[in-house]
């Protein structure tokens, strides 16, 4: 009774003024998702330092905020905010300033269309997604590749030779892996008969990691490359080109670019979980039925994140020519093989 008096005016308003309602809903959703991604990324930075510390026989953060170092990031943020904001004289100023902003806008675009888990209310699973568009898998892929544009803007705008080399490498790496990644998304969509991520998750009675193991491996490699993480972080290889495209950045501008990388890592893991690991699918947990899909989703995302950190802790960086070779000469043909496999399986079960 009370609920309907609140809900009815809202639904009426949405029906009458869909555009204004869209803007208001968008603002609320953007505020929520922005906080979720930022807090999530802070968690990932902490987790990565801690896990990498353990892997290399160190403690990791252990001073600020109990012996687990949970306040380390707050201390880092205070340091970044109070640091002098210095722009190099030779920089192309508009491009230099806009690079972190473009990176932030890109991650928000991706976060808008990704489902952030689901709730099971009375046996019906409701996905938590801000913008449920029909082509969300395609949109995510397109928006993720904009990250390379932000990195290139940072490299070009800095007017530094190391930055420029990093930016070139970043673009070459992105275009070598964009095609296999796209074909993997298509293979998944061929099986699910949809490009909508929610429908792809709902179609996974068998997780696609089992249905297309080859596609999973290719997508995982392409994703690590897209995220620019070790062993594919040639665009910021610190032993060769100082810090790559972020060489000239300092203080909060560097902090923003660095933080966007971790937000992209979170988004990439969520995408991987949705496409190959069955999203929020899993046996219903008794007692907390309502949260059960959410718990499965979070568990899978954390698993993927720990795997990505593990990869960083155990592998060494490839040379840039090896990376482009791997993309063009191995992953591209193999992803086409996977597409044929997906179509064959899809035809067989259709």
């Amino acid at each position: 009774m009370v609920l309907s008096t609140i809900v009815e005016p809202i639904t009426d308003f949405v029906a009458q003024e869909p555009k204004i309602a869209g803007l208001i809903i968008g603002l609320i959703a953007a505020a929520i998702i922005s906080s979720v991604t930022n807090v999530g990324a802070m968690g990932i930075v902490w987790l990565e330092r801690k896990v990498l510390g353990d892997m290399t026989n160190r403690f990791g953060p252990s001073r600020v905020g109990t012996r687990w170092g949970i306040l380390q990031l707050v201390a880092d943020a205070i340091k970044l905010f109070t640091k002098e904001d210095s722009i190099p004289r030779g920089a192309d100023k508009p491009v230099y300033v806009w690079a972190p902003i473009v990176a932030c806008m890109t991650t928000m675009l991706v976060a808008a269309v990704l489902p952030w888990g689901a709730l099971n209310i009375g046996g019906v699973v409701y996905p938590l997604v801000a913008v449920n568009m029909d082509i969300s898998a395609f949109f995510v892929e397109a928006a993720l590749s904009l990250m390379a544009i932000a990195a290139f803007m940072a490299g070009w705008g800095s007017n530094n030779k190391y930055s420029m080399l990093g930016a070139f490498r970043g673009i070459a790496r992105m275009i070598s892996y964009e095609v296999p990644m796209g074909i993997c998304v298509i293979s998944v969509a061929v099986m699910a008969h949809s490009l909508n991520i929610v429908e792809i998750v709902e179609a996974q009675s068998i997780w696609y990691i089992i249905a297309q193991p080859l596609g999973f491996v290719i997508f995982m490699i392409a994703l690590i490359t897209d995220l620019g993480r070790v062993p594919f972080d040639q665009s910021e290889a610190e032993e060769e080109i100082i810090a790559g495209y972020v060489t000239e950045y300092g203080g909060i501008r560097w902090g923003l670019l660095y933080f966007q990388e971790y937000i992209t890592m979170l988004l990439g893991s969520v995408l991987l979980v949705h496409l190959y690991l069955g999203g929020w699918n899993g046996p219903t947990i008794p007692v907390i039925t309502i949260l059960s899909p959410m718990i499965w989703f979070l568990m899978k995302v954390i698993l993927v994140l720990v795997f990505l950190i593990w990869v960083r802790g155990s592998l060494i960086r490839f040379r840039i020519d090896q990376v482009t070779d791997l993309g063009w000469k191995w992953l591209l043909p193999l992803s086409l093989v996977n597409l044929v496999w997906a179509v064959a399986i899809g035809m067989y079960f259709a």
Partner: protein, 131 residues
């Protein structure tokens, strides 16, 4: 929200996401402007080049090899673009069949094989080699 939303209505909330995404870094930079010290000197504004004074500009002409890789990328990206709408129609009953196999699948197979021959040619000509 109703399921019969106009396609264009999907993109209206995205405007808000773009604005929030732009305001976050701008707000952070505004806070920095207020609370952080600003004492620029000539040396601080120099471009970093391993300790020495920078020699010439970094905005160089690139090697022509980059263009070859970029063109190869454009070709294959267009291929991927053609594959996206194809997902929806390849099992359609309306499309005629040839020897029991749908024309949609045969056509796409031909298209991909032609492109694969192109990729092999690229690899043989070492167009995709990094310089």
């Amino acid at each position: 929200m109703s399921s019969e939303m106009m396609a264009v209505d999907y993109y209206i909330p995205l405007i808000m996401f773009l604005i929030v995404g732009a305001l976050t870094p701008i707000g952070a930079m505004a806070v920095v402007k207020i609370i952080s010290p600003l004492k620029p000197t000539f040396r601080k504004g120099a471009t970093y080049e391993g300790g020495i004074s920078p020699i010439r500009d970094a905005l160089i002409q690139y090697n022509v090899q980059y263009y070859l890789i970029a063109i190869a990328f454009v070709i294959f990206d267009v291929e991927v673009l053609f594959l996206y709408p194809w997902i929806y129609i390849y099992t359609s009953e309306v499309i005629p069949t040839l020897g029991g196999v749908s024309i949609a699948i045969l056509g796409m197979a031909t298209f991909i094989i032609v492109l694969l021959i192109g990729l092999l040619y690229d690899i043989k000509k070492e167009a995709l080699r990094w310089v």
